[in-house]
Amino acid sequence: MDAFYASVEQFLNPNLKGSPVAVGGSGSHAVVSAASYEARAFGVHSAMPLRQAVRLCPGLVILPVRMNLYRTFSKRIMAILLRYTPEVEPVSLDEAFLDVTGSCLMYGRPFDIASSIKNAIKTETGLTASIGSGPNKFVAKLASSMGKPDGLIVVSPDDVIAFISPLPIEAIPGVGKKTSIHLHSMGINTIGQIRISNKDLLKRHLGSYGGVLWDLSHGIDMTKVEPFKQRKSISHEVTLDDIIYDIKDISPVLAELSLVVGTSLRALHLFARCVQVKFRYKDFSLHTRQTMMPVAINGDSDIFSVSYDLIREHCSFTKGIRLIGVTCSHLSALRQSSFYDFDTKVERLYNKIDKLRARYGMHTVVPGVMLYPKRKDLPRGSL
C-alpha cells in the first residue's frame, strides 16, 4: 500500500486530500510513523523526528496513530487478496506476497491479476496500492517499490537481469547501513556490480550473506511464499530514559516488558518455551541471553521471573544499561497440563486481568514491582 497510515487518514477525511500529512506519536521525542506523498515531496520520511519534519514542511498536518483503524483496513485488503489465491503471505499490515502461479488459468496473466487487484482495492477501500510482479519474491518486491505510488510493474523472467542491474544496492531488502558501507568500500554501488563480482570474494567479506547477495544479483531467490506464517516470536523492548546501573531499577522495566509480551501471547492463545533478554550497554554493545524451559509459559510473572534471572546472571550493571528487551519464542498453542488445579486458577486469573486491560488500559492491573518509587513514568506498551 502507498503511504498506508496517511492514506487511510486522507481517505477518511477528504479535506486532507492533497495536503502533506504525517502520522506519528505525541511528545517531544515523537517520530513520523508514516508520511503522505505530499509530505514526502518536502523530504519528510518515516522514523524522522516530528520536530524536524515540521521544520522541513511547515504546513504539515500531524495526526495521532490509530492502529486499530489501520488494522481494520488491512484486514479488508488481505481479504481481497485471498480471492485471487490462498497463497498470501502478509509481511506487515500493508504489504503481502502472493504466489499466483496456480491462479493464472482462472484470472489470466500476472498483469491482468495485478490490475484486477489494484482496481478491487481502489473501489472497495478507496486506497491505492503498488504491485510488482516477478518470477520470485525478490524481484516482485523490487518491482513494487519501483512503481510507487500507484504502480504496476511486471518483470518477466527474461527481463530480470536488465531490470535489477541498474538499481542501487540499497534497494535490496536486508541491505542496511553496515552492508552498504562495506559494499561501497569494495567499489560496488549497483546490483549489476554485485552480479559481476566474485562470489567467493563476497562471501569472504560478508559471510554467507555475501553468497545470498550474489544469488539475488542474478535474480535468484528460492524463498517461498508462506501463507499465514506462524508467529515465530513475540517481543518488546524499551530504550531507557536514564542509564540504569542497578538491578533494582531494572525490575519495574522488566515487569512492564513481561506484561506487554505476556498479554500478546495470551491474546494469540500461545505459550512460549524460550525466553530471551536483550540488553544494550552504555557503550552501545548489544547482548542477548536466552533460556529454554521444560514447560511452555505465558503468564506475566513467569516471563518476568525467567527474564529477571537471565539479567541477574548475565548482565554487568556497572556497564550501565540503556536498552532492554524481552522476547518469547518457540511458540505453541499446546501446553503441558499438570496434576494441580493451580494452573487452571492462574489461567482464569489472567483471563480476567486481560479483560480489564483490554477495557481500561494496559496499566489497570500491574505487578507491585512496577510501582517502585524510583520510576518516574511507566514506559508505554505498544498495544
Binding site: Q230, M292, M293, L334
Partner: protein, 418 residues
Amino acid sequence: MKITIKKALFQRMLSRVQGFTEKRVTLPILSHILIETYDESVTGKKGIKIKATDLHISIQMKTECTVMEEGACALSAKGLSDMIRELPDADLFMQTEENTRVKITVGNYMFNLNIMDPEEYPMIEFSDLSLSAKGGDKDVFSIDPLVLKSMIDRTIFSIPTPSEEESKYALGGALLVSHTDEKEKSATGGKANYIEMVTTDGRRLSLARHKIQEAIDMKDGIIIPRKGLHELKRLIDTTPVVSAIDDGTDKSLSAKGGAEILLTRDSIYFKSSDTIATVRLIDGEFPDYSSVIDLEEYPIYTKIYAPKLLSALKVCSTIVSEVSNSAKFDFKRDTTVVYANNPEQGDVEIPIESEHHGDAIGVSFNPRYLIECLSMIDGDAIIRLVNEEGPCLIMACPPETDFDSPPEAEWVIMPMRF
C-alpha cells in the same frame, strides 16, 4: 601429612566422593575434599580418610595406605581428580607444606597444589548406626540396597531438576513410604506389605513398589533429595570399590561388600566396609497422589507391546519440534497410531498393533515422558486413560497368574492440551 597410596585406588576414591561436593561457589570449602590420616591404636592400622560434603549429603571413605607423617589437608575436588586422571598408574606420594600447599608426585610427574585449611572444613557427623540398632530403636529401618537402587532407577527421572524447580510443588526429592494392603493377603497368610518410592514434577508421577516380608511403619514417609538419590544409586552401582569377592554372579550387595542402607527420621545412610555416606532428608509434605493412581478413575485401556511403542516414540522424537514438544496418540480398537509433526521438518505416522478396550480416543503427550517409563517395561504395557484431557497411567501388563497384586511400578503422565 605425608603419605603414599596407589594412584588407581586414590582415583577411584576421588571419583566416588566427588559428587558429594558443592559445585556452586557460595562456600569455596564445600567444593573441596578433606583428606586426613588415621591411626587405629587397637588394630595398628594406618591409612587415610577422604571426606566430602555439601552440608546436605556427606561421605567418608577409608583406606589403608602408608602414612609417614600424620595430618590433613583440604583440596579442590575437581582440580585434583581432573589431574589425577591423567597420571600414569604408580605409587602416589603426597606431602603437605605448611598448610598452604601440597606436593604430589607420581613417577616423574610432580605437582604443587594450593590447599585450604583443614580446620575450616565442616565437621561431618557419622553417627554409629548399625542393623543391630534396629531391634532396639523402632525408628531405624534397613532396605536392601539393590531394591532401593531399582526403585530409584524407575522414578528418579520425574524429579524436577533444580533449573526446572518451580515454586511450591517441586519438592526436589522422592517420597519413600511404607504401605500395607488391607485386602491382599501375602503368601504367608498375613497382610501384604510394601514400600513405595514416589516422585513427581507436577506433570507426571512415577511410583515404584516393592513387596517386603515384615511390616514397617514409616508414618508419612520420608523425602530423599534428588542429589542424594543420585549419589546413593552411584554408590550402590559401584560397590564394592575394593571387591573382596566378585565372581560376576548377581548376589545381593550385602554379601559382596557388606553394604547396607539404613533409614532414620532425618537421614538415610549407606554403609559398606570402606564407605559411609549420609543424605539429609527433605523436611516437607509430599502432595497427595492417591487419586492419581486410583485405577477406577481410568475406564479406558490399551494393551501394547512396550518395546515396539518405545521404538516408535524414539523415531517420533527425531521429528518432534522443540516448539510443541508433543506427539499425538490415537488409540483405536486394534491399533495405536503415533503421530508427530514439525512444521520445519515434516511429519511421521507409525501404527502399532494393540488391544484397546473402551472408546477410541486421541491424546497428545510429551514423548520424552513416555520414553522414560516405557524403557523400564520389557513386555506388554497397559496404558490406562480417562479422556482426551485427563492423565494416562502406564504399567507393565501383570501376569495372568497374579492379576490382582499391585504392579511393581506405575507412571502417570498428564497430556498436552490446547
